[in-house]
């Protein structure tokens, strides 16, 4: 439902009545085929929201070229006709499909749902009102989103980086961080927006790729690159791309001269006032909750935090204050893409938990008529040539293509359609297949990437096997790219149709492969992440085996006292353990490990062995790896030699027990990044800055006369944690920055411990005499992670953490289907992120477990027993590990076997095989060679 907003939420969890207001689109979605004729004729231009006002759009427009749904809309605030009845109306005349409807009206919908998920996102901070950045007055000061659009090939300059003021190429580019973040004075947003450091680095690197010789500088306070692989990217940006990083806070941007040069003034780390000039300045603007979302929060009656984000608990990060209403994404705090995607799945898990009794109640499976057997019929090909409005017909002589198609072998029926994809044409094609007794279809239209699934459904509706269709792409590959050359475009369209007809002639009916699913899950690891996953799946109604290698549930959380938001960890963990122990769907295996694995998605067989030497095989359809991480034991800073040098976990215990040394100590020094962000461990452990700041606050609150120092490299109290950093400074905690090349030195002389660190402001080493040194030590992966990974064929990264399938879009999936990851096993993270990931992994596993079988595409590799001689060349090239070498029956050599559940039909095996011993269904040698011969035979 597009152009729609929620205006009322009545009812309770499980049974809400939501009122949705749908604004008029003024374009009939069923008729619009997005040909673009309307927009060409529309005389009204306004700033494009999609291009962040760097470019223009018309009053009738699509948001962007790949928009879903790809349907035009009229902006009532810009349209001449809608403002003045009787005027303009050019789009209506231009629209062949008759889709324009100026009389469209607002509609109200009452919808009954069991749960609501709020995912309305964020808005970028608008720096206009702040004044000091020159935004709005100097055209060469832009926001980061505007730079994204300038760098994009689909943007207003097609990826060329030029100055908006005079079109001159940009040679010097500056990024200013924390605009609209960490700044209570100018914008009122005290929190850190979490994502700006990383996007600025990415944009700087890409800008340098676009413009050879470009000088890019990033002016920042703390470099907050705390996510997975972010620090490695930072190092590459510094050392390989040559991006310059300047630690300071810029006072403001002034315009210098008529060309719009930007003058920056700032105080550097040595305390000197400096001035620099740039062609363009990019403001790394923060994320904030838009006004309409504040209203939505009011409508939904949910509580917000002081920073105006949805209030959630660290142990239920997608649950709002109102039962049955959940959140995901930036509404509950600024976050990046992977975390937003994780929360999307997590919210799905939370909803599934609530609504599990009603699963499958409202969903239906489509039904189709019985399939006709065509194996003994001669090919009877039907060719449908699409005009696509004027998209194809405006360039290609479609009538000539139609006539040509009639001359092709086996073609018995040809027809032209204005829009082959429209519903009425679909019905017509179905009718023609039956009337003309067609058994092979060629659609000469657009790309199979977007439209093949649609035409497959059409064939199914006509009782024909869905694989008997071939698409000839005479639009994207032809009329669009040869718009200047209609004659040759027409000739090429004929070639493409001839090739498609030749290929489909040898097409076979194929049956999608069905793989049964064992509706049971295996969760490895009994920490917070593992328990959360197990519990959610059990609440959803699935049987779960939970494997824990120690004799205690709780994992690393047993070492923790409070979350960053102040929730009491032991209480929450105890509750979680209780729920797990009492849930009859969860079978707990303590002091057990996975020692062998067989099978694949839907059908895993994992052997678990217990300490007493017993082992058993568990059948499961999906698996979640939540094996956690471990605390790094340091050697530096004299940790081994000085008793009063302790790790943060040790300090927490001593502090809680009111141990004498801590009680009487007056001076405390925290050293950050111990074992993180250096050498082979170039990653941030993410939780240590916040942990030390929290400890420092506790020390100061207990006795304000204590001196507490935190020696840090970049203070990474990201997101709403920034409030803790502010509080610590207010309480008088002293923060001293050090660089990797000037690490602190810790020595002991009698009762006195001395920490020596370089003081940037005073330009001399600073010696701090103290009573206790606390090392903020890293989180390390489990040493046996790679071994477990090998069993399930899932990889670990260079640091030893498990590697997800895709950093952004599949953050809890493994590349091995049916396996998922959560918690510290994936990367260091705080509890609420572990819980979100654990819920997400459960949701992803549930998408499999909710079905009794999965249907897989029939495009799979198949062995030809007559030709395969077991040379095994294909075994090595298969990227999915789907091919194995087995003995033939009766000891007659070897042959390959393809696991169809693992095969993705990529065809590498077929390309590699020297003997034609393996082929991919739908792309047989016969089909491809017929297609090639048709291409060459003119």
């Amino acid at each position: 439902m597009t152009l729609s907003e929620v205006v009322k939420v009545d009812g309770n969890a499980g049974d809400f009545n939501v009122t949705v207001k749908e604004s008029p689109r003024y374009v009939d979605m069923d008729k619009c085929i997005a040909c673009g004729a309307c927009t060409d004729k529309c005389p009204k231009k306004v700033d494009s929201e999609y291009d962040a006002a760097t470019g223009k759009r018309k009053a009738i427009y699509v948001k962007y070229a790949q928009a879903v749904p790809l349907k035009y809309q009229i902006d009532p605030n810009a349209c001449i006709r809608l403002k003045k009845p009787g005027a303009c109306g050019l789009c209506e005349k231009a629209c062949d499909a008759g889709a324009i409807n100026f009389n469209d009206t607002e509609k109200m919908h009452e919808i009954n749902v069991g749960a609501v998920i709020l995912a309305p996102g964020f808005e970028a901070y608008d720096p206009t009102d702040a004044g000091v950045w020159g935004y709005g007055t100097n055209k060469n000061v832009i926001t980061a989103m505007q730079l994204e659009r300038y760098l994009s090939a689909s943007g207003p300059t097609e990826g060329h980086l030029v100055r908006p003021s005079d079109g001159k190429p940009v040679r010097k580019l500056a990024f200013l961080q924390c605009i609209g973040s960490r700044d209570e004075n100018l914008c009122g947003n005290g929190y850190c927006s979490s994502v700006c450091c990383m996007y600025a680095i990415k944009e700087a690197v890409i800008a340098k790729d676009h413009v050879p010789g470009l000088k890019a500088s990033i002016f920042y306070m703390d470099m907050r690159t705390h996510g997975k692989d972010f620090d490695m990217y930072l190092e590459r940006a510094k050392n390989e791309s040559g991006v310059r990083f300047v630690r300071c806070r810029v006072n403001g941007v002034e315009t210098d001269g008529e060309g719009g040069d930007c003058r920056l003034s700032y105080v550097n780390e040595d305390g000197r006032q400096l001035e620099e000039f740039y062609d363009m300045v990019v403001l790394s603007v923060g994320l904030q909750t838009p006004k309409h979302v504040l209203e939505l929060a009011k409508t939904a009656d949910i509580k917000l935090t002081a920073d105006n984000f949805a209030a959630t608990s660290d142990f239920a990060p997608v649950q709002t204050s109102r039962e049955g209403i959940f959140t995901c994404g930036a509404i509950s705090g600024p976050k990046d893409i992977p975390q937003s995607v994780v929360e999307g799945s997590a919210a799905a898990a939370a909803v599934a938990d609530l609504l599990s009794p009603s699963r499958h109640n409202l969903t239906t499976e489509p039904t189709f008529p019985a399939e006709k057997d065509i194996s003994n019929e001669d090919p009877r090909i039907g060719v449908f040539v699409c005009h696509c409005g004027s998209n194809i017909a405006g360039v290609v002589d479609v009538k000539a293509v139609e006539e040509y198609a009639q001359t092709l072998p086996n073609v018995v029926y040809v027809e032209r359609n204005l829009f082959s994809c429209s519903q009425d044409t679909q019905d017509m094609i179905t009718k023609r297949i039956q009337e003309q007794n067609l058994n092979r279809i060629v659609i000469a239209a657009c790309t199979p990437r977007t439209h093949e699934p649609l035409f497959r459904e059409t064939l199914k509706a006509a009782g024909l096997n869905e694989y008997l269709v071939e698409m000839a792409n005479i639009r994207n590959h032809n009329s669009w790219v040869h718009i200047q050359d209609p004659k040759n475009a027409t000739a090429k369209a004929k070639d493409l149709v001839r090739m498609a007809a030749a290929k489909v002639t040898f097409g076979d009916s194929l049956t999608p492969i069905s793989v049964p699913i064992t509706q049971t899950a295996l969760v490895i690891g009994g920490g917070v992440a593992g328990m959360t996953s197990a519990l959610n799946l059990a609440e959803q109604g699935f049987d779960v085996h939970l494997v824990e290698q120690t004799d205690t549930l709780g994992g690393n959380a047993l070492n923790l006292k409070h979350t960053w938001a102040g929730e009491h960890v032991p209480t929450e963990v105890a509750k979680l353990v209780d729920k797990v122990l009492w849930n009859e769907k969860i079978i707990l295996h303590k002091e057990a490990r996975v020692t062998a694995v067989e099978g694949f998605v839907g059908n895993f067989h994992s052997t678990i062995s217990t300490k007493d030497g017993k082992s058993k095989v568990i059948d499961h359809g999906a698996g979640i790896i939540a094996t956690g991480g471990e605390v790094f034991i340091p050697q530096e800073y004299n940790y081994d030699n000085i008793t009063r040098v302790v790790t943060s976990v040790q300090f927490d215990k001593l502090f809680e027990l009111k141990e004498r040394h801590v009680r009487i100590a007056k001076k405390f020094v925290f050293i950050q990044c111990v074992g993180s962000r250096e050498g082979d461990n170039m990653y941030c452990s993410k939780v240590c800055c916040t942990h030390s700041v929290q400890s420092a606050i506790a020390l100061k609150q207990e006795r304000p006369d204590r001196n507490v120092y935190i020696l840090y490299r970049d203070m990474r109290t990201y997101g709403q944690r920034e409030a803790l950093y502010r509080q610590a400074r207010k309480l008088g905690v002293i923060f001293i920055n050090y660089e990797l090349h000037g690490k602190p030195k810790v020595t002991e002389d009698g009762d006195i411990i001395t920490v020596e660190v370089w003081d940037h402001v005073l330009h001399r080493p600073l010696k701090i005499e103290c009573d206790l040194v606390i090392l903020a030590t890293a989180i390390r992966p489990m040493p046996d992670a790679a071994d477990l990974g090998k069993l399930y064929k899932v990889p670990v990264d260079g640091h030893g953490f498990f590697q997800e399938a895709h950093a952004k879009l599949r953050p809890v999936d493994f590349s091995t289907d049916g396996m998922f990851v959560a918690g510290l096993a994936h990367y260091p993270k705080p509890i609420e992120e572990s819980v979100a990931q654990a819920l997400a992994a459960a949701a992803r596993a549930a998408t499999l477990l909710a079905k009794t079988s999965i249907s897989l595409d029939a495009i799979k590799a198949t062995v030809d027993e007559n030709y395969c001689d077991g040379c095994a060349l294909c075994v090595d090239v298969c990227p999915y590990g789907a091919i194995t070498l087995v003995d033939r029956a009766e000891g007659k050599g070897q042959i390959i076997r393809v696991n169809k559940a693992q095969c993705k039909g990529c065809g590498l095996c077929q390309g590699t095989c020297p003997k034609r011993g393996v082929f991919v269904a739908g792309f047989t040698m016969k089909q491809i060679s017929a297609q090639i011969q048709a291409a060459l035979a003119v």
């Binding site: 907003e5 929620v6 928009a67 998920i117 999307g344 609504l355 409202l362 969903t363 998408t847």
Partner: protein
Amino acid sequence: MLDTKKVGSVMIVGGGVTGMQAALDLADSGYYVYLVEKSGAIGGAMAQLDKTFPTNDCSM
């Protein structure tokens, strides 16, 4: 809670990456989903990005 009504459908407000992920996971696990989007098309902020870390993949 057994006697309370549980409707097997969900409304998701917002069609960005996070809303779409929630919608897909719920639809794939047997729930009817209403995806409500304020603008004319789904995709959200990510669709505006040129390339994304770490692979510099096009965001589209």
